[in-house]
C-alpha cells in the first residue's frame, strides 16, 4: 500500500550561509495493508522528516513514493489533496485548527470534506470523542485552549473518523495517560484489522511492541552510512 524506493532528503538553507543538511539517502521500504511499521532511530535521525515526505508535506526530489497507485513525488498538488482526503491520513504531533471552530466540527470536518452529511459526520465525531474521554461540555468549545493531552486526543479523533487505507502517526501516544493510551492503541489495532497500512513513530517501547509488526531504524538511511 505504501512503497518507497530510493528516496533522499537534503535541506538547503539559503539564508543560513547556504547550509546543506543531508538527512536521508536512498530510503526504500514497503508497508502492506493491515501492517503497522514503526520508524525508530535517535532524535534527529529523520523519522518525522520521512513521515512528512510520505505525506507530501516535505518535498521529495528523486525516487518514488507510491501510495495506492499515486506517486507523490510526481503528483500535482490537487492529486495530493485528493489522496489526503480519501486515502492518506496523518496524525501530526500538534493540532492545528481554525480558531473558534468547536471541537465537534473539527473532528467531523474530514468526513464532511468527503461529502458526509452533518448528522453522519457529527455522530461519528461524538462516538470518537467519547471513546477518547473528551468530556461532553468541551465538544462545543474550540480546542485551542485545551491541554496538550486533550488536543492530541482531538487530533487523533479527527484522523480516525474516516477509515483511511493508509495512515501516518507521529507519536500518537506521547503525553497520554495509560487509559487514553490504551484507547489509542485499540483504535490502531482496529484500523489494522480493517486493512489499513500504518507507519508510526512511538517513543514508548511497550506501545510499539503492542501494535507494530516490525521496525525500521531510520539511522540506517543516514547519509554516508547507506550501504
Amino acid at each position: 500500500m505504501i512503497d518507497l524506493s530510493n528516496v533522499s532528503k537534503t535541506f538547503n538553507l539559503h539564508n543560513q550561509g547556504g547550509a546543506v543538511i543531508e538527512v536521508l539517502s536512498n530510503v526504500s521500504l514497503s508497508v502492506a495493508a493491515g501492517e503497522c511499521v514503526a520508524l525508530t532511530g535517535a532524535s534527529g535521525a529523520g523519522k518525522s522528516t520521512l513521515m512528512r515526505m510520505i505525506y507530501g508535506n516535505y518535498l521529495t526530489h528523486s525516487g518514488e513514493i507510491r501510495i495506492g497507485g499515486v506517486d507523490l513525488v510526481q503528483a500535482e498538488p490537487r492529486d495530493v489533496i485528493t489522496l489526503r482526503r480519501e486515502v492518506l491520513g496523518y496524525v501530526s504531533q500538534f493540532l492545528r485548527v481554525v480558531p473558534r471552530v468547536p471541537t465537534l466540527e473539527v473532528v467531523a470536518e474530514p468526513l464532511r470534506a468527503l461529502g458526509a452529511s452533518v448528522e453522519t459526520a457529527e455522530a461519528r465525531a461524538r462516538a470518537l470523542l467519547s471513546q477518547l474521554n473528551i468530556s461532553e461540555p468541551l465538544w462545543h468549545l474550540s480546542p485551542t485552549t485545551f491541554s496538550g493531552g486533550e488536543q492530541q486526543r482531538v487530533n487523533i479523533a479527527r484522523r480516525f473518523a474516516h477509515a483511511y487505507p493508509a495512515m501516518l502517526l507521529d507519536e500518537p501516544t506521547a503525553s497520554l495517560d495509560a487509559a487514553n493510551r490504551d484507547v489509542v492503541l485499540t483504535l490502531i489495532e482496529e484500523a489494522k484489522a480493517r486493512g489499513a497500512a500504518i507507519i508510526g513513530i512511538f517513543h514508548d517501547e511497550a506501545a510499539r511492541r503492542r501494535v507494530c509488526d516490525r521496525e525500521i531504524d531510520v539511522s540506517r538511511f543516514a547519509t554516508g552510512m547507506a550501504a
Binding site: 538547503n12 508535506n57 490537487r78 489533496i81
Partner: protein, 256 residues
C-alpha cells in the same frame, strides 16, 4: 478535468516598470489558491489582470464558462466580461467600502447584485438578501441599515454576502482579512472556509498573512518582483520552502 481557470504567461508593465511577469498556472474546481509575497511584488496586479480589472500586456486568462466552455477573458468583449464578473466571478476587496455601495442599505447591497442578473420580484430579493445576511452572521433586522453604521468586520461580511449571493464559481480576494482585528479575522476565515466547502467554490486569495493561507488555501504561489518564485501545496511551501526568498518569508514570521 478541465481547469476552471487557466492563466498563461500573464505580464503587466507600468511603463518600464514590471507589475507582474510571465505568470502561468491552472486552477481546478473547488481549489483555493493563495498568493503571498512582499509589498509591491505584483500580487494585486496579477489578481486584477485575472479578474478583468486590468488588461495584461501579454498572456491569456482562460475561464471555463458555463455556456461555451473555455474562453480567453482577456480577449472577450467588455459586456461579456462584465456579465461574468456579475455572475460567475466575485471580487472581495481589502477595503469593504471599495466593494460596497455605502449609500445603499445592507439589503440593497445584496439585492443589487441579484437584480443585475435579472431578479425582479421585490419579495424574493428581500428574502434572499435577508437569508444571506444571516449566513454571514449579520442580524437580518439590520437589513435596512446602511453599511456606514456597521463595524469593519460586519462590512467585510456584508461584502462577502453581496459577492456570493449570485452563486459565483470563482472568488478573487485581495487581503480580505487585512485591517481586521485577530478575533474578527478568525471568524471571517471560518465563514469563508464553510462557504468554500458548502458551495464548492474556487478562490484565489492574496494576502501577506501566512496563517491565513495555511488555513484557507490548498495551494500557494510566492511572488517576488513580479515573478512567481515558488508554487506548490500550501503546507509544503510553508514547511519546506525551496527558494531563498520563500525561506526568508517563512522564517521572518514567528509561527504559522
Amino acid at each position: 478535468m478541465t481547469p476552471l481557470l487557466s492563466v498563461q504567461g500573464i505580464t503587466k508593465r507600468y511603463g518600464a516598470h514590471i507589475g507582474c511577469a510571465d505568470v502561468s498556472f491552472d486552477l481546478y474546481p473547488g481549489e483555493v489558491m493563495g498568493i503571498v509575497g512582499e509589498s509591491g511584488s505584483g500580487k494585486s496586479t496579477l489578481l486584477n489582470c485575472m479578474a478583468g480589472h486590468l488588461t495584461p500586456d501579454a498572456g491569456e486568462v482562460v475561464f471555463d464558462t458555463r455556456a461555451e466552455g473555455p474562453r480567453d477573458t482577456v480577449r472577450m468583449s467588455e459586456p461579456e466580461r462584465r456579465m461574468l464578473s456579475r455572475t460567475d466571478w466575485a471580487f472581495v476587496h481589502q477595503h469593504a467600502r471599495d466593494g460596497l455601495r455605502m449609500g445603499v442599505s445592507a439589503g440593497g447591497n445584496v439585492g443589487e447584485r441579484l437584480m443585475a442578473v435579472g431578479a425582479r420580484r421585490y419579495g424574493d430579493i428581500r428574502d434572499k438578501a435577508s437569508d444571506w445576511l444571516e449566513r454571514v452572521e449579520i442580524d437580518a433586522a439590520r437589513i435596512d441599515d446602511r453599511p456606514t453604521t456597521f463595524s469593519g468586520g460586519m462590512q467585510q461580511r456584508l461584502q462577502i454576502a453581496r459577492n456570493l449571493v449570485t452563486g459565483p464559481r470563482l472568488v478573487f480576494m485581495d487581503e480580505p482579512t487585512g485591517g481586521l482585528d485577530v478575533s474578527v479575522q478568525a471568524r471571517l476565515l471560518d465563514l469563508l472556509r464553510g462557504l468554500v466547502r458548502d458551495m464548492g467554490l474556487s478562490a484565489i486569495i492574496v494576502t501577506h498573512d501566512l496563517a491565513v493561507v495555511r488555513l484557507l488555501a490548498d495551494r500557494l504561489m510566492v511572488m517576488k518582483s513580479g515573478h512567481v518564485v515558488e508554487a506548490g501545496l500550501t503546507d509544503q511551501v510553508l514547511d519546506d520552502p525551496q527558494h531563498a526568498y520563500s525561506q526568508l518569508l517563512v522564517s521572518s514570521v514567528l509561527q504559522v
